[in-house]
């Protein structure tokens, strides 16, 4: 193979090699399997989304997984064929390696361009998603909820609703919420899985994240930062209710506190 040969001629020449054909077929097969896996499994593992944020997280995971499928398949197909087709058989080791490929500008350029396109796609997609998430956290009509983590419980207060406090999180459906998150002791991480939000709770600092819960139901709030003896038990519930039910809950909490 030389730089002066046309690309089509080089490809035709490669394709005449039986091992290349086999590797390509293996690559195609693994790519299909991985792509199907990427389309079905990651989103299912992450559960039913309860917010646009979580839907964005799941679609990002799915698209990134599909994009990674042919790359991973290429590595696996070459590895599989190396372990089987190019395996040295017999009791004696091979005399030496095959001839190395050197000086192929096209191979190098193809590798760099494909890698660059893939990484730029991941970067631009990720920045776009992060921008949309930060927009939710700064919505002007957002309800503020102060979240406090401590070993090994969560507490929530509602400064716009008479500083009502609770050990469980109550949110009105379809209203933007901004969480002001802090810790009383060590570092925790406030994580509502189905809503796709997770942010560290640092002692002495306030971190923010936002979400628009759009699904009625009860979800799990957990700590995602190993924080000590009962870290595994640092869980509570997040209830997404109608605005009427939320107002009734606030009223009930206020009357109980007075």
């Amino acid at each position: 193979m030389t730089q002066t040969e046309p690309v089509t001629a080089q490809i035709r020449m490669w394709w005449q090699r039986v091992e290349i054909k086999r590797i390509v077929w293996i690559w195609l097969g693994i790519t299909v399997v991985l792509a199907i896996f990427a389309l079905i499994v990651p989103a299912r593992v992450m559960g039913s989304p309860a917010s646009p944020t979580m839907r964005a997280v799941e679609s990002t995971m799915t698209i990134f997984s599909v994009a990674a499928a042919p790359v991973m398949a290429l590595v696996l197909s070459v590895a599989v064929y190396s372990l089987t087709g190019w395996r040295s058989r017999g009791s004696e080791p091979p005399i030496g390696d095959g001839p190395p490929i050197r000086g192929s500008g096209r191979v190098t350029a193809t590798w760099m361009v494909v890698s660059s396109v893939l990484t730029m796609f991941v970067l631009i997609w990720g920045l776009g998603e992060m921008q949309s998430l930060s927009a939710e956290a700064s919505a002007p009509n957002a309800m503020v909820v102060n979240v406090t983590g401590q070993q090994w419980v969560w507490t929530f207060s509602y400064p716009q609703n008479g500083n009502v406090e609770s050990d469980q999180l109550y949110l009105p459906v379809n209203r933007p919420v901004v969480f002001h998150v802090t810790s009383k002791d060590v570092i925790h991480s406030f994580w509502v899985v189905e809503m796709g939000i997770k942010v560290d709770a640092n002692p002495g600092e306030v971190t923010k994240t936002g979400v628009v819960p759009d699904t009625l139901g009860t979800f799990v709030v957990r700590c995602a930062e190993l924080c000590g003896l009962l870290h595994a038990h640092m869980e509570t519930q997040a209830h997404v209710v109608s605005s009427t039910d939320f107002a009734a809950w606030i009223t009930a909490q206020e009357s109980r506190a007075s």
């Binding site: 070993q151 090994w152 009383k184 002791d185 009962l230 038990h233 509570t236 519930q237 109980r256």
Partner: protein, 230 residues
Amino acid sequence: MGTVRVYLKASGAVAAGVLVVVLAGTTLARAGTTPGLLNATVKGTAQTPVGVLPHAFLELATYPDSLAGEHGPDGGSKPDWVSYGPTTNLSAPAHSLVTITIKQYDSGGTITNPYFASVHGTVDGTMTINGQTATASKVDAIGHTFTIHAMPTNQDPLFVSVPLRALPDNAKPAPGSSYPVPNVVTFSFVTGGPGEYVWNCEYPCGDGTYANFGGPMSARGYMSGTFTVA
């Protein structure tokens, strides 16, 4: 034949490795001491907001050291750590009214999260301190708390948190005792179906550690434990 032997040897090596890990794990697990279980004593029935239920009682205490609880009269390896007693593994019957009395022998200070200065999850949201009904304790006079976590599992939710008023720093030992006269805190709550819960103290009482949440606050058998509803 040679290939088969290689695979057999490799499989044997993997199996031996697994066996070693399993043996080490089970040995270490059995080496740990499990505090004794304190079962609530049922004495008759009681009227509750959900009807007439069996009435069970538990008696606990919080000490400024580990000399009177489950660690023995010498206090075990950390005799100066604060502790609950007589044990930290508790059990109460399901669908019952549970009344817990805690004798609080320790001093204290300001709780970091005022939420836990209030009573949560008890019948009527109240407790009694030395016979006086209260819904909270002063945030700057908390010795400890008794807080059962509301784990979001398939079991019935159970969240109870009660502040335990601190004794003065200069409280003198009562006659014939190495501890002062305690604050006696009593509260009641209703259990649901069977379940496994955990409880711990939410007042940072691990003096000398980061944020006072280390030491006895981060070790089993001192300021945390299990609460089994059976």
